[in-house]
């Protein structure tokens, strides 16, 4: 079941959902509007699909940054987000969608576990200027069924935008 605004608020107060900073004004009837951070990391790959930019995220100027189509950018959520009780789904918001900005590339599912600032994948259909700290998406929280285990991967340790941590392409094969 999806949590309503009042239930989200109640569980934030109880510590069962982390949204930090939390502002009741960002609650929608069954979701919470979150903001992007103020750093961006452009991802690029060579013709063989190997990542070529393992650089540091760059600050986004107050005047924004113009994203170009067919490129992949990483930023992060302004808020620390997570829950050990409810499953988080993270998607874009309507204003972003209507300007053709994809937020998360078919990877909108969070894991039960600790809170952090999530890395967001951005790509756009037409060039679009984005601004640091702008409203970019919505979170929903879902009650799971079954015994709970927590995420043990490495991404929760990162609160700045971070690229693929699986390493070289050879690591992707069946073990």
């Amino acid at each position: 079941m999806i949590l309503t605004a009042e239930k989200i608020s109640e569980e934030v107060a109880a510590g069962n959902i982390v949204i930090s900073p939390f502002s009741p004004g960002n609650l929608n009837p069954s979701s919470y509007s979150y903001h992007m951070g103020d750093e961006i990391l452009e991802q690029s790959v060579d013709r063989d699909g190997n990542e070529t930019s393992a650089g540091e995220p760059m600050p986004i100027a107050a005047g924004g940054v113009l994203l170009q189509p067919k490129r992949l950018y990483l930023t992060n959520t302004h808020q620390h987000i997570g829950s050990r009780k409810y499953v988080t789904l993270l998607s874009g918001c309507r204003p972003a969608a209507q300007l053709g900005l994809f937020v998360q590339l078919s990877a909108n599912l969070g894991n039960l576990g600790d809170a952090h600032r999530w890395t967001l994948e951005l790509t756009c259909v037409q060039p679009v200027r984005i601004y640091p700290g702008m409203l970019i998406g919505v979170l929903t929280f879902w009650e799971p069924k079954g015994a709970i285990t927590y995420y043990s991967g490495q991404y929760t340790a990162h609160s700045r935008p971070v690229g693929n941590l699986r390493g070289a392409a050879s690591d992707w094969g069946r073990q």
Binding site: K7, S30, S31, A96, Q98, G100, Q126, M134, V138
Partner: protein, 151 residues
């Protein structure tokens, strides 16, 4: 929990889900097929900006369809008004539409509880694809909520 097609029909009968116009043949096992309206909107400028007005132009969909280009974002209302004060709704492309490489939303799939409107689809084609007004373009699912919905 997700509602079955039978339950969507029942909840609509009870007035707890609104879909207008409603056609029983568009009910699927666990969703309802919605249709594309009769026009799309496109932006007049190539580069868009979150802090500026981004003027749009409306383009009626001709009888023989409209060929979508790959490098543009198109906005299009659904034919139906859809919403619920009790259930959250999520929109999806129909699989036959997805197989032609057409996105019907750009990572914004949630119809919040309490919203009742023609949903504005964000159409994006991976390869050029022709769309037709009134086509069954997507599906909407309904999900039960936990917690008060009085807001």
């Amino acid at each position: 929990m997700i509602l079955t097609g039978t339950e969507i029909v029942e909840q609509r009968r009870l007035g707890r889900i609104r879909i207008e116009p409603f056609h029983p043949e568009q009910v699927s096992p666990n969703s309802y097929d919605f249709r594309l309206g009769d026009a799309v909107e496109m932006y007049q400028s190539e580069a868009l900006d979150f802090r500026q007005e981004n003027p749009k132009v409306k383009i009626p969909i001709p009888d023989d369809g409209l060929l979508l280009k790959i490098d543009k974002i198109y906005l299009a209302a659904t034919e139906e008004l859809i919403g619920s004060d009790h259930f959250a709704a999520i929109i999806h492309a129909r699989s036959s539409v997805a197989r032609l490489g057409l996105f019907v939303h750009v990572t914004a799939d949630l119809i919040d509880i309490g919203s009742y409107d023609r949903w504005i689809l964000q159409l994006h084609a991976v390869q050029p694809v022709r769309i037709f007004r009134g086509m069954r373009i997507g599906q909407v699912t309904f999900w039960s909520a936990k917690g008060p919905t009085s807001k």
